[in-house]
């Protein structure tokens, strides 16, 4: 047991020394691996944030009922009372067109555009929260409101959430695909690096064999070489992703504000970070092993 630990320590130290012996090479390889891994890692970061957003928003789905622009206030009041008395409605909040106009004018970008328009382009509206929040029943209510006089447009506010959820599903597949492709790339990089290492250290392999080294003794430093490269790449990918998170945080929060959402982009979770490092190290290990399996005997 102690011998085993000793062998592992020696192999790790040896692999580390070999990496440091060609620092620029090693750095470039680690960067290449890191950048490749940063793409799926960044995708996962965005997905996790988007998923958090939908979790939060879809907690209270609402139906927006927009009156026709030329409907008068009496019609609106009528629709309001119908909504108030309708089955399945928890609450119907009236949003007068003046309020909407004022709110939109508060946005400096929009103000100029609005001011050139004659009159108030916004209709009266109601925001309806319902007792039964299942998409099907909300869809049914929306269809019913659409038939009412003076109602121009009914929108399920959860619709974009569902669209986003569908996008997230797509995004998850894209991240998986990207991860698989770039993971294969990482394996290929480690495979070639370990192959070069085997050629460079041919003499050492031969001599160790003659002096009674077991096959695992000979293989170990090369495995560590692959694992260290993979892990180094994982760390680089983590740094890149975290930096991107911080850099994008303010612009994305601004964007979200336009949709009346508060969103502060979060970096990779501890779990995802650990997963990233484990996968990076594991792929390095795999690449090294495949390379050893193919090339060790011919050394």
């Amino acid at each position: 047991m102690k011998v085993w630990l000793l062998h592992h320590r020696d192999a790790a130290v040896l692999a580390w020394r070999r990496l440091l012996a060609v620092p620029l090479n090693s750095l470039l390889f680690v960067l290449a691996i890191g950048v490749a891994l940063a793409l799926p890692a960044g995708g996962q970061m965005l997905l996790a944030n988007a998923r958090q957003l939908t979790d939060r928003v879809s907690a209270a789905p609402q139906i927006s009922v927009f009156m026709s622009v030329n409907a008068d206030r009496a019609t609106a009041t009528e629709v309001g009372s119908r909504l108030g008395g309708a089955a399945g409605v928890k609450q119907a909040r009236f949003v007068p067109r003046e309020e909407t106009l004022a709110r939109m004018k508060a946005n400096p970008g929009l103000r100029e555009a609005i001011e050139v328009l004659p009159g108030n382009p916004f209709p009266d509206a109601f925001v309806v929260s319902v007792t039964d929040e299942r998409p099907e029943s909300m869809e049914r209510l929306a269809a019913e409101y659409r038939r009412w006089d003076g109602v121009a447009h009914v929108q399920l506010d959860s619709a974009w959430v569902r669209r986003l959820e569908a996008l997230i599903g797509l995004g998850r597949n894209a991240v998986l695909l990207l991860g698989a492709l770039l993971g294969a790339g990482l394996i290929a990089i480690c495979f070639s690096i370990v192959r070069m290492q085997l050629l460079v250290h041919r003499a050492e392999i031969e001599v160790s064999d003659l002096l009674g080294a077991t096959e695992s003794f000979v293989r170990r430093p090369f495995i560590y070489h692959g694992v260290l490269l993979g892990l180094g790449g994982g760390v680089v990918a983590w740094i890149v992703t975290t930096a991107a998170t911080l850099w994008l945080r303010a612009p994305i929060a601004d964007l979200a504000k336009l949709y009346e959402l508060t969103l502060s982009l979060q970096p990779l979770s501890a779990m995802d970070s650990a997963l990233l490092l484990a996968v990076a190290g594991g792929l390095g290990w795999l690449g090294a092993n495949i390379s050893l399996g193919r090339h060790l005997d011919s050394c």
């Binding site: 031969e206 001599v207 009674g212 080294a213």
Partner: protein
């Protein structure tokens, strides 16, 4: 310790390096293998260390038939044998200390004890002050002695040496021979391929001629 029973070794495509070779080496014995260049001396030593396998016949080392040796058992046989190779096989990117350390690392010696042993082995061959030197910084004779230090550092019961005094001047060759005598004195069995049998007057001699033992 070593027994060859009608051993033949044929290299592809059909070079008979050894034929009908039978002999025994007893424990604590010192035996020289002589013969012209290409007679099969290196081949004979390689068969003992299981670097090559006999084409026919039986090679026994420490009572163990090497033809039945599994791949997994091979490293442990080699650890019991010290070997000085004809081409030395030093590692040129490691210093003297690290070269001698290698067999002990392989065997999993605790580092502190291993370091003591390495220093003792280097002292023994007169390289105690050169432990930081890379092999290229050593003279031919010093490299030869470094190879010997590496072969004996694991205190093997059997030492194989392939022309350990070739390319050495008379005085250095004598030093090397004296080192071998010292190991023989402490009970190491020795099989040495050499032309220079006069350096080892007490040893028994085998003579190879075109792969056959001449008696």
């Amino acid at each position: 310790m070593i027994r060859f029973d009608r051993v033949a070794k044929r290299y592809p495509p059909g070079v008979d390096a050894l034929s009908e070779v039978s002999f025994e080496v007893a424990e604590r014995e010192m035996v020289l293998v002589g013969g012209h260049s290409g007679a099969g001396k290196s081949t004979l030593l390689k068969l003992v260390a299981a670097i090559e396998q006999a084409t026919s016949g039986a090679v026994l080392v420490g009572g163990q038939n090497l033809s039945g040796l599994s791949r997994a058992a091979l490293p442990f046989l080699r650890r019991r044998i010290g070997m000085v190779f004809q081409d030395q096989k030093l590692l040129f990117d490691r210093n003297a200390f690290q070269n001698v350390m290698l067999p002990l690392s392989i065997a999993g010696f605790p580092p502190r004890e291993a370091a003591q042993r390495v220093r003792a082995a280097l002292d023994k061959v007169g390289l105690g002050k050169r432990e930081k030197a890379l092999p290229v910084m050593l003279s031919g004779g010093e490299q030869q002695r470094l190879a010997i230090a590496r072969a004996v550092v694991g205190r093997p019961g059997l030492l194989l040496a392939d022309e350990p005094t070739a390319h050495l001047d008379a005085e250095t060759a004598n030093d090397v021979a004296r080192i071998f005598h010292d190991f023989h004195q402490v009970g190491v069995t020795m099989l040495i391929a050499t032309y220079a049998h006069e350096l080892f007057p007490a040893a028994r001699r085998l003579h190879l001629d075109h792969g056959r033992l001449r008696t």
